[in-house]
Every structure is written in structure tokens, then in C-alpha cells.
């Protein structure tokens, strides 16, 4: 079995997540080749075949050209699986490659499952086992689901190039907003999720954060709705935190939120839904209406 692994490169740097692709191939027990649109000055620590195209001429985000490059490498390698990370690069490009090859795409794979792949569904509450109909398939793997493997070695370079006009023009990057709070250093974080119901209830979560001597965090919907500043958002598109204590109030536990806080030493989740996926990583899941529980806990802490 053979895999073609599509690595990632951004703003001139090879992304470490690229090594997770090797972790996936390792679990499959498959041979590997890699493709990267990057630069010869930043090669992965990997001794296999590396199809390399130059990001200076092919762009870091140019789906039309990158698709052509991948199809070219697919012809040369004849892989069973073409593997991407389920990332802003991967979920944008993978369906294009799958459509061009007319093969199945399996999205956001979290594990191998007898003859198929395990994927999440229903906001991570449930799982499906999926199998491609034909032998070949395009796969995107969930960030963090497979261990990063750095085999070492110097890649056998095979240079690729592509040209052509594209209907899409990449103008440039916009840096992340400046943070007025650095949650990365906080020892205690109490986060508000959509379960708080309305903006007025942010103060209730803030009061608990204060009683515990911690900072306020938030899930994305709370930020998108304008209840809390973006600088407090925890998750893949917010901050990554590793406090001693993380209290999640009314947060379901979507993978993009978990990615930002699962390294916390101790996690307490307050949720009225006993099946909420946050329960899978929480040390303590308090099944309760936060509207009653949070003020009661805050009051008790105040008496200490």
C-alpha cells in the first residue's frame, strides 16, 4: 500500500503538522512519498521521495496549480491514498483532487477502523465508519489525531513545476489581531460558551473567573456574537492555552475548541447535556444548568 502525503508550508515555513501525515501512514503500514509546495531551504526531516514545487513560483495558496502538481505526482507514484491534513489548506484542496480523480474523499479521519476509517459526525458527538468504494481515496486527517513522526534523513528530491492562469489570485496574509490578554500564560481560565444564552450572562462567568483568581476565556460563537472580545477566544482560530485549571461553562467540546485547551492540567466542564463531547476530556463533568450552578459556586468561593 502506498500513500502520497501532502505537506504544508506557510509564510515561508514548513508546518510541523506535516509530520502527523507520517504518523497516519505509519499506522496504515503504508509506503510513503511526500509532496510539498515550499522551498529547498526548508526541507522536512524525511528520507523518502519528496516531490517539491517552489512556493515562490506556484504560490502558497493557489489551488488550481497545487491541484495540477498533485495530479502530476499521483501519476508518477500511483498511490492508494492521497493524504492531507484537515486544515484550511487541506479541506480546500482535497475535494478538488478527489473530484479530478473521481474517487471518494474521507474527511477528518480520526482513526483507522477495520478496513475503513473512523470519522466524527453530529458535532463530534457521534462517529461513523466510512469506506471508499474503490481502492483509491483522498483522505484528510484530523489535526492532532495521529502522532507526529519525524523519521529523519534527507529527502530524495523530485522537482515539479506547474504553470497556467488561475481564476483565483492570492493577495496576501493578514496577521492575527493583537491580543490584549495573553491567555497562554494564565494559570486558571473560566470560559463562556454558547450555553450562557445571552451577553448579559458573561458577567456571571466573569464573576466565577474572578472568584477563582483566573482569566475569562470564550468559545467562538460567544466571540462571533460580539459578547466577548476575540482576544479571549480559545481554540484553533483563537489562543492555545495550558492552564492548571480550565472551567468550561456551556461549551459542547467541538474539536476546534478542544485543540486550544486540551493541554490544561485539570478540566471541569459544566453542561446540562451529559453526552456533550467535552465530557470525553473533562476530569469532572458537572451535569447542571449553569444558570444555577455557576452563581452558587461563585457565592461559595466568595465565602472561603
Amino acid at each position: 500500500m502506498k500513500t502520497l502525503l501532502i505537506g504544508e508550508y506557510r509564510e515561508g515555513k514548513l508546518l510541523d503538522s506535516t509530520y502527523e501525515l507520517l504518523g497516519f501512514a505509519g499506522q496504515l503500514g503504508a509506503e510513503t512519498a511526500m509532496l510539498l509546495v515550499g522551498s529547498e531551504t526548508q526541507l522536512p526531516s524525511y528520507g523518502g521521495t519528496l516531490y517539491l514545487a517552489d512556493a515562490a513560483s506556484c504560490g502558497e495558496y493557489n489551488p488550481d496549480l497545487h491541484k495540477k502538481l498533485i495530479l502530476d505526482a499521483v501519476q508518477k507514484e500511483n498511490p492508494d491514498y492521497i493524504v492531507f491534513l484537515h486544515s484550511s489548506y487541506g479541506w480546500d484542496l482535497a475535494p478538488r483532487v478527489a473530484a479530478a480523480l473521481r474517487v471518494a474523499q474521507l474527511s477528518e479521519v480520526i482513526a483507522l477502523a477495520d478496513g475503513g476509517f473512523e470519522v466524527g459526525c453530529c458535532n463530534a458527538k457521534m462517529r461513523r465508519t466510512v469506506k471508499p468504494a474503490a481502492g483509491r481515496a483522498v483522505v484528510t486527517i484530523q489535526a492532532g489525531a495521529f502522532p507526529a513522526l519525524q523519521p529523519g534523513g534527507i529527502p530524495l528530491l523530485q522537482k515539479l513545476s506547474a504553470a497556467g492562469t488561475a481564476a483565483l489570485e492570492f493577495i496576501g496574509y493578514e496577521a492575527a489581531e493583537k491580543k490584549d490578554v495573553d491567555l497562554g500564560k494564565a494559570e486558571i481560565i473560566v470560559s463562556a460558551g454558547r450555553g450562557i444564552g445571552k451577553k448579559d450572562n458573561v458577567s456571571m462567568i466573569q464573576a466565577l473567573a474572578k472568584a477563582l483568581g483566573g482569566e475569562l476565556g470564550a468559545s467562538r460563537p460567544v466571540v462571533d456574537a460580539g459578547w466577548v472580545e476575540h482576544s479571549h477566544q480559545v481554540g484553533t482560530t483563537g489562543q492555545t492555552v495550558s492552564p492548571k485549571l480550565y472551567v468550561a461553562c456551556g461549551i459542547s467540546g467541538a474539536i476546534q475548541h478542544l485543540a486550544g485547551m486540551k493541554k490544561a492540567d485539570f478540566i471541569i466542564a459544566i453542561n446540562k447535556d451529559k453526552d456533550a463531547p467535552i465530557g470525553e476530556i473533562a476530569d469532572v463533568l458537572v451535569v447542571a444548568d449553569l444558570m444555577q450552578f455557576v452563581p452558587a459556586l461563585t457565592a461559595k468561593l466568595a465565602k472561603q
Binding site: A99, T129, E169
Partner: protein, 258 residues
């Protein structure tokens, strides 16, 4: 200009899910359905563009699914879509993203849409494939996960969301398809007068068999809950008791109350 927005109806994600008889998807009994969250942003963006373009432009909303999806279609019409296509398919849940995309592409093929809006992913299936695949099948320019959108004179300027809060700015020539991310805008609530007006708007019902020509490329063999990791404690009961228990845990297991 002609605009299309694709919406899916999904169950309330706070529900309990049980497998259906075949064990490959959820049982719909007792589930309440609503519009996929990502698609609300897609509808709002399409409606905003439709309003900006004014007379002579047209916005169609499309949904594939059983009769219940008409509820979500009606909401889109009340938000400002002009007309609708309901692709009737009681077994839409069993179709893979490739088939769903093919159905949409076949519908759109001869209609000269300039811009198609979709959500970046559906909350129940979550494949993040249908939009991009439709664009590939139609030969449209496409970008994904947008949190900013502007249109002027045949050119879309979109802001893509990348990891860690970084954004990428792209320009696309129409015809184009964009997939919409959470936070792109603030989806409006339909007002009562607009709900009334929407009742007069046309919903074309099209049997899926008229548009489907593709076999699935992937099959689901099982639908099940995640394996319980264990380890964690689950506390239930009276709020007063819960507070006592959590206080004890904070004292024992964390340095917070020392």
C-alpha cells in the same frame, strides 16, 4: 446577476442521537431540525449581495432532502431569497458528498449562476466537501472558509480564515463559489412581514431522480457513539450538593484553593 445559496437542514445538535435500523445514520424520531449554522451565514451574505445588486438580480435557495427541509427553505425566503428549489429526496442522508454535489451541479449547470454560496461544512455530516466539489464540477473559481466578502464588477474579494487567527486575502473572478465560515456576518432574524411575504414566493419541487446520475464513492458502514475514554467523573444531582463536591475537588485535585 444570478445567485444561488445551498442550505442543509440538520438536527439540533444538543439532541441525543441513536442509530437508525440499518445502523449507519441517526434515527430521526424525536429530533428537531433547523438550518445548518454555517448555511445561515451563507444565506445572509447572499441576501446582502442581492440587496446591494438590487433590481434585475435574483437569489435562489436550494436544499436537498425530505419534506421537512421546506421549513429551512421558508426561513431563507423570509430572510430575503427570491425563490427556491426543493430537491425532493427522502434518502438524502444516505448519499455521499460526491452525490450531493453532483445533484447541485446538475441543477445549476444550465442556469448561469454568477455566484454560489454554501456553508463550509454541515454540522451533522461535517465533510466540508460539497461546496468545493460543486465548484469543481461546474468549473467555477472557488475559495473556502470565508470570514469576509466583498463583490464589485465581476470580482469577489474574500478573506479566508486560516489557523491561529491569520487570514488570507484572495480575489476571484465570477462565476465563483464561496464556502462560508462562522462569524462571516450576523444572520438576520426573519421579521413577521417578511415571513408573510415569503409565503407567496415560489418553491419549485424537483424529484431527485431528475438530477442524480452518480453512484456513491464512499459508504458508511457504522454509526456509533465514541468509545468512552473513562477517567473523568460525572456529577449529577442537586445544585447545592454539586457545589460541595466541586469545592472538595478543587481543594483535593488542584492548587486553586490552597
Amino acid at each position: 446577476m444570478k445567485l444561488l445559496v445551498c442550505i442543509k437542514q440538520v438536527p439540533d445538535l444538543e439532541s441525543r442521537f441513536k442509530a437508525d435500523a440499518a445502523g449507519v445514520w441517526y434515527n430521526e424520531t424525536d429530533l428537531a431540525f433547523r438550518m445548518n449554522e454555517y448555511d445561515e451565514y451563507a444565506v445572509e451574505q447572499a441576501v446582502q449581495l442581492r440587496e446591494k445588486l438590487g433590481e434585475g438580480s435574483e437569489l435562489t435557495v436550494l436544499s436537498i432532502g425530505p419534506d421537512r427541509v421546506v421549513e429551512a427553505i421558508k426561513k431563507s425566503l423570509a430572510m430575503g431569497c427570491d425563490n427556491a428549489a426543493h430537491i425532493q429526496d427522502a434518502a438524502a442522508f444516505a448519499k455521499d458528498p460526491w452525490q450531493i454535489a453532483s445533484i447541485i451541479a446538475t441543477y445549476a449547470q444550465d442556469k448561469n449562476f454568477d455566484i454560489i454560496f454554501t456553508g463550509m461544512q454541515s454540522q451533522d455530516r461535517g465533510s466540508a466537501q460539497v461546496g468545493v466539489t460543486v465548484a469543481e464540477l461546474l468549473g467555477f473559481a472557488c475559495t473556502t472558509t470565508i470570514v469576509g466578502f466583498d463583490y464589485d464588477n465581476g470580482i469577489i474579494t474574500a478573506k479566508r480564515e486560516l489557523e491561529g487567527g491569520i487570514k488570507g486575502i484572495v480575489k476571484l473572478k465570477t462565476p465563483a463559489l464561496v464556502t462560508c465560515q462562522l462569524g462571516l456576518n450576523i444572520p438576520r432574524y426573519p421579521t413577521l412581514p417578511n415571513i408573510m411575504k415569503a409565503k407567496k414566493k415560489e418553491i419549485a419541487a424537483i424529484p431527485v431522480a431528475d438530477l442524480l446520475a452518480e453512484e456513491p464513492l464512499a459508504t458508511t458502514t457504522s454509526f456509533h457513539p465514541p468509545a468512552k475514554k473513562g477517567g473523568g467523573i460525572v456529577l449529577e444531582g442537586d445544585v447545592g450538593d454539586l457545589v460541595e463536591k466541586v469545592m472538595a475537588i478543587l481543594k483535593d485535585k488542584t492548587a486553586v484553593l490552597r
